[in-house]
Subunit: 416 residues, 2 copies
């Protein structure tokens, strides 16, 4: 079987085009963090909902302060107090004032707020030594948001700031996308469980626990089917069982060209349509994605770095797109390469790396050993350097693309 | 009472210096994501643990391929097959080969791997048309990590890559910091619950739900004490109750100079030592932090933007430091200002903003209305612009500091 490699960008597009949106549900505001909005957040009223004092001080009629100066102060009589949440009923008359707290509604006829610090206390009021303009120190009704305004679009991730908006407008419950369910199957007779002692020729399964953490980071629920032996019939049955219980099935391993790499045959048996089985990227060139009805099957490489990258590039955006998220891609930035890097292969290279802010800008250095089966560099690093196909040698000081890992908000476009 | 404002950097330092570390506990690897390591991750064995094949192909003795060329190919006999996880017992003799899978252990005497694509199949073996060097296509024992090497330091946040390392070395359970418990109390008679209908002079409490989401983002458990009325005795009692149940108490509101701003008096009554009660920052200049024994009390401003910023600048690093995290601060980068911004106040200004990658670099623009009581700009934006004290006008094209929000990994130093 000859596999035809396709560019990363094309592969991402194939995956996104094959996503089917999941249903929505209502969740309480306290459980909304991290979910994807399935309705816009609309300002249900003006914010502020009324003209209010921006400071602790006194509410006055500005005209009464006219002519006040250091040499000729003006006296005001305090006729009451308006705490935040309270209302001053009586309208102000000449040279009258209310003591007023931050955020409290202005009493009738008041049109300026005098800060406490600018007053001199008297027996039943205070004096002013400067004049105040109409509207001084007032937060105006609707200056922050107007009733009916769409503040946050449907398809946005709910972060703590979004929650503040939900609370402001009384969204005790909010419509969000249901969480897709993922199944994880690790393949390979060489794999031991994390509890097992090492044996000759074997290694512990790190992809399974890593993928669980990648899903946990997204707060996506999963079923773990543990590990399957290299047996075609048993494998097919397990994949079918996983499919019946989830929206997405991730397998690790079994996608190369070895005699025990059963995934291509399994996809054929269950009737899944393979979107691609070779991508012009390293690590992870054998990454395979297939679709069956409204479900996606991700055949990620058994090599940990390749598996990790395949999840972040393909599976994560797919999960977010299924939830209707309009910014499903890992955000990208530019940084200066902090050390030379030689690329052994013409494919696009994804290098686990560490970015940091130095006095002269953003720098990025590879996180260490960078073969696709490397585990140690996965544990370090907070980003991935992307080196495009073509050029083979990258020098200190060159500007390179960097994908930010572990970032709450994604971006709407994938450019690499 | 005159408050003496201190620089942000000094305030952060006061908070961090007052943190007491919480205890540690063991958690299962599947529950370890997001926790702070309280032991280093040590390579318990070499990685790879044995010399292994980097590709699917044939294991040969390199010397047997000497002299092979297009015109003079050399034949090999295949004496067996080594799947990953299996072992080839018999040593290779002259012009013998094992069929071998990616990741499988090399059989005795083998010292090179021939990729499948470079062979021509024969009845009981294959032919080669080029010679292979010793060590070609082999992943060497220990090349990724050496036994005994410290791969990840104690005090690191466990992310998915860290989990891969834990799995590789058999950390079925790992020692992590216990999660500190936080209490949240919102103060202000003007506050309504999210379910309530608006009333004149009142607004819904957005700080409480927002803080819960900020804690939820960190996976920190909390008690919510709802809202307290502006009554000094009741307030004191509530703060004492909250303290008895948690490591940190966050109050919102009540820290200004208004007649109902009871926090200073409450701190005095319970014997808490105030670290500072005025910070040279906007919003949030009234942010107050106090310490009582090994517990911290955060008096955040009642204004949503100020409350949000106060949490990210002070409370979040404190929580992480209590867990022993060595990188507790929000990461910083530089970006180009996308629009003019005028600062009305000499204090350091924190402006909710949106950063994005454009073709000519990283740009950042304010997220909208930016008074400290603004709610709408909180819902937008993925970062905070930091404008230092001093200069008042910032022009399009100037480079500014930006704090990345919602980023999984923090940094070790706070520079602003």
């Amino acid at each position: 079987m000859i596999r035809k490699p396709i560019p990363v960008k094309e592969a991402v597009q194939h995956v996104i085009n094959s996503c089917t949106e999941v249903n929505s549900e209502m969740v309480k505001i306290d459980n909304a963090y991290g979910r994807i909005l399935k309705e816009p957040i609309v300002a249900k009223h003006d914010v502020p909902p009324f003209n209010r004092s921006a400071f602790d001080g006194y509410a006055i009629r500005a005209e009464d302060s006219e002519g006040a100066s250091e040499n000729s102060s003006i006296s005001f009589q305090v006729i009451g107090e308006i705490g935040a949440g309270h209302v001053g009923e009586r309208a102000l008359e000449e040279k009258e004032a209310y003591r007023i707290m931050t955020g409290a509604i202005l009493p009738p006829h008041a049109d300026a707020i005098v800060m406490l610090e600018e007053t001199e206390k008297t027996e039943n009021g205070f004096t002013l030594s400067r004049s105040f303009a109409v509207d001084e120190n007032i937060s105006f009704q609707g200056e922050d948001a107007k009733e009916g305004e769409i503040l946050i679009e449907s398809g946005s991730l709910i972060h703590p700031g979004t929650v503040a908006l939900l609370a402001t407008f009384g969204y005790a419950k909010v419509k969000v996308a249901k969480l897709p369910v993922v199944s994880i199957i690790s393949t390979g007779t060489e794999l031991l469980d994390v509890e097992d002692e090492l044996e000759p020729g074997k290694i512990r399964n790190s992809n399974g626990p890593m993928l669980k953490a990648q899903l946990d980071r997204m707060r996506i629920p999963y079923h773990s089917f543990g590990m399957m032996e290299d047996d075609l019939d048993a494998c097919t049955e397990l994949v079918e069982k996983a499919l019946s219980q989830s929206d997405i099935v991730i397998t690790t391993g079994g996608v190369s060209v070895g005699d025990y790499d059963y995934l291509p045959e399994i996809y054929k048996r269950i009737g899944a349509k393979v979107l691609f089985d070779k991508v012009m990227m390293r690590p992870g060139s054998v990454t395979t994605v297939a679709v069956l009805g409204d479900k996606l099957l991700f055949g990620l490489s058994g090599n940990p770095s390749a598996c990790f990258t395949g999840f972040e590039l393909f599976t994560r955006p797919a999960l977010l797109t299924m939830m209707g998220c309009t910014s499903p891609y890992v955000p990208r930035m530019k940084a200066t390469l902090g050390e030379d890097f030689t690329k052994a292969n013409p494919f696009t290279r994804f290098v686990r790396a560490i970015w940091e802010m130095r006095s002269d800008g953003l720098f990025v250095v590879p996180a260490g050993f960078n073969k696709s089966n490397a585990v140690s560099s996965i544990g370090r690093g907070n980003c991935i350097i992307v080196l495009p196909s073509g050029s083979e040698r990258y020098k200190v000081g060159e500007e390179v693309d960097v994908l930010l890992l572990g970032q709450e908000l994604g971006v709407a476009t994938w450019d690499l």
